[in-house]
């Protein structure tokens, strides 16, 4: 490659950023700042000087568009190549796609939600620096929604579970977990949003969400997902920076902000951590070829980087690690086993499939979790006997959901795998149930907000979900044959065997054989 002659550079990065971002801001003259920015007072956060906000990326709009275009170009080249070469046939197994079904149903619609709220921040924050950073993130988030949907759309031609992700995001029980998490943040003020999504989710926990999904994709032959994931994640490092700047900025502006931020941190750590139970089970149970266990990922990305790194830094401002973090550390030994067991038992009402771990898989789990997996292994051995006798286990009743995280209350006490954890609070004569101390703590601080939760099970009983019987509800979910249930013998599984048994013939891999009947919905 020839080296182009160096163009004369008129301004340094610092000066360009200052000229193109800060200098384009102005003081309002014919309305007061409070009229122009009506959203930044009511949460009790005190800001003295918005110009103190730092953006280490020093991003300007020309640099932003240049690099984002390059990222998209690289991604779309990969997507085309993969689709043209029937790349889906080189996945490790069709069951790998269960992780991606969960991703498109649970995460992609929330990327869109994130874009909506950052658009709001790009309008409503007082400072020019944070407004521009929010604008870039708003554009990033809609790019993520689009690239995720575009990437996974290719699998929709051949596999079940992808066809109605948005419809299902709005309705299906397990998807109310990510949906309610984001709507909780969307319905908060701009500063709480910055701490909930900007900081807690993007800085504290994002690595636990994205990196395992993308390394999992890389390890299981899913080139497009790996590429979109790393492409999205490269924006994510900017988002992490925004989140970290946000928390430091709030803490530096006024010490009266410290207790408000500390509560948000306590709340949003636990909200985010509970959401990640879905990722924990994905890592330990859904990937045919394993990357690392949830326990290892948690130790690496949370305990080492956050507890031993970040929170040491924040201690300077009087911030302590979030409440209930000790519970999360205890749970790393078993949360994935319990979360997958819940999904397995309600698999007939899900848009992904589940199956008993193979012997080899169980051996791996035993190596990763020598202290806890033996207990769960006895469950699976018992379930294998059920299946031999023709009775795969599905729960026909409906579970009690936690009022805050909305996960079925199947988690146990940390010191006893046979005692279900259950907490309750009474508010204005009504009893509310929680899966954990962390969820109860949040409810007790904001009962008026959380009593309004749209709990899928309650809604079914109230007659708002298509009808009183299971088939009524599944139809209302738009679940089609082949979307959920047991993986072995499912349409995805049968097609997979057929396509691989006939590898030297092109027959059987056309779209007419698509694994589900719900195409076109």
């Amino acid at each position: 490659m020839t080296i182009a002659p160096k163009a004369p550079r008129k301004l340094s990065m610092k000066d360009r950023y200052s000229a193109l971002t800060r200098d384009l801001d102005w003081e309002p003259s014919y309305v007061s700042p409070d009229e122009l920015f009506p959203q930044t007072k009511f949460e009790g956060i005190i800001i003295h000087d918005w110009s103190k906000w730092e953006d280490p990326f020093r991003l300007t709009v020309d640099a932003y568009t240049k690099y984002q275009a390059e990222k998209d170009k690289r991604l779309y080249a990969v997507l085309d190549g993969f689709a043209q070469s029937q790349g889906h046939l080189s996945l490790t197994d069709a069951s790998y796609l269960n992780a991606m079904k969960l991703f498109i149903q649970g995460i992609a619609p929330n990327e869109y939600n994130a874009h909506r709220n950052f658009a709001m921040l790009a309008r409503h924050l007082n400072g020019g620096g944070p407004r521009f950073a929010a604008l870039c993130q708003c554009l990033d988030e809609i790019r993520h929604a689009q690239t995720e949907i575009h990437t996974l759309a290719n699998y929709n031609k051949y596999y079940g579970g992808f066809h109605s992700f948005l419809h299902q995001h709005e309705r299906v029980w397990y998807l109310s977990v990510p949906k309610s998490f984001f709507e909780d943040a969307l319905s908060a003020g701009p500063f709480e949003w910055l701490i909930s999504i900007g900081f807690s989710f993007e800085y504290l926990l994002t690595n636990l969400l994205f990196v395992p999904f993308m390394s999992g994709a890389s390890f299981n032959g899913d080139l497009p997902t790996m590429t979109f994931g790393f492409s999205a994640q490269s924006d994510e490092s900017r988002h992490m920076t925004l989140g970290l700047e946000a928390i430091k900025f709030l803490l530096e502006q006024d010490e009266r902000n410290v207790p408000i931020v500390q509560y948000w941190l306590d709340k949003w750590f636990w909200r985010g951590y509970r959401l990640l139970a879905l990722v924990a089970q994905m890592l330990d149970y859904m990937l045919p070829r394993k990357v690392m266990s949830w326990k290892e990922a948690f130790e690496l990305y949370f305990e080492e980087q956050m507890m031993n790194g970040l929170f040491q830094d924040l201690a300077y401002y009087g911030i302590r690690p979030p409440l209930h973090v000790d519970k999360a550390i205890q749970e790393k030994e078993y949360v994935s086993h319990q979360a997958y067991w819940i999904l397995y038992q309600f698999g007939h009402a899900a848009a992904f499939t589940t199956s008993v771990p193979t012997d080899e898989h169980m051996k791996w789990l035993e190596e990763q979790y020598p202290n806890t997996f033996p207990t769960y292994k006895t469950l699976w051995e018992k379930e294998k006997k059920n299946i031999e006798n023709g009775g795969r286990h599905f729960i026909r009743g409906l579970p009690q959901l936690c009022q805050v995280c909305q996960i079925p209350m199947g988690f146990t006490e940390a010191d006893d795998p046979f005692v279900q954890a259950q907490r309750e609070s009474i508010f204005e004569g009504e009893r509310y149930n929680f899966c954990s101390d962390g969820c109860q703590y949040i409810f007790d601080h904001e009962p008026v907000k959380y009593r309004q939760a749209w709990l899928p099970v309650h809604q079914i009983y109230q007659g708002n979900c298509g009808g009183p019987t299971l088939p009524d509800v599944l139809e209302w979910y738009n679940l089609k044959p082949g979307d959920g249930g047991e993986y072995l013998g499912s349409m995805d599984h049968q097609n997979w065997l057929k396509w691989h048994g006939e590898a030297d013939s092109a027959e059987g891999i056309d779209e007419g054989d698509a694994a589900y009947a719900g195409k076109g919905h």
Binding site: N207, S234, S237, M292, G309, A315
Partner: protein, 97 residues
């Protein structure tokens, strides 16, 4: 929580493992003698106690063309620490306190 001084707490970056980024990773290794490298599927994690620098000139020497620090946005997947400086010549990740 036991206090660990900022100079000892590791900071690091996760970088996509591809041909373009090889020069970047080599430059980081050369400029941060205490750095350790861990390979994971599709990515490389480089971490170093206290701080980690990426120098434009070191990358350019290895990549054989001009390289602006903004280009690092195409390589980075994630990081831990605080981005203290990102200018035309250098990116510096370190803890503050």
């Amino acid at each position: 929580m036991t206090t660990i001084p900022a100079a000892e707490r590791p900071v690091g970056v996760d970088i996509q493992e591809n041909e373009q980024n090889r020069a970047v990773i080599e430059a980081i290794e050369a400029d941060n003698p205490e750095a350790t490298v861990r390979h994971m599927p599709g990515m490389v994690r480089v971490q170093s106690p206290g701080k980690l620098v990426i120098n434009r000139e070191s990358v350019e020497e290895r990549i054989g063309r001009e390289w602006e620090t903004h280009e690092f946005q195409l390589a980075i997947i994630s990081y831990f620490g605080h981005i203290k400086e990102w200018d035309d010549d250098q990116i510096l990740i370190a803890w503050d306190h």
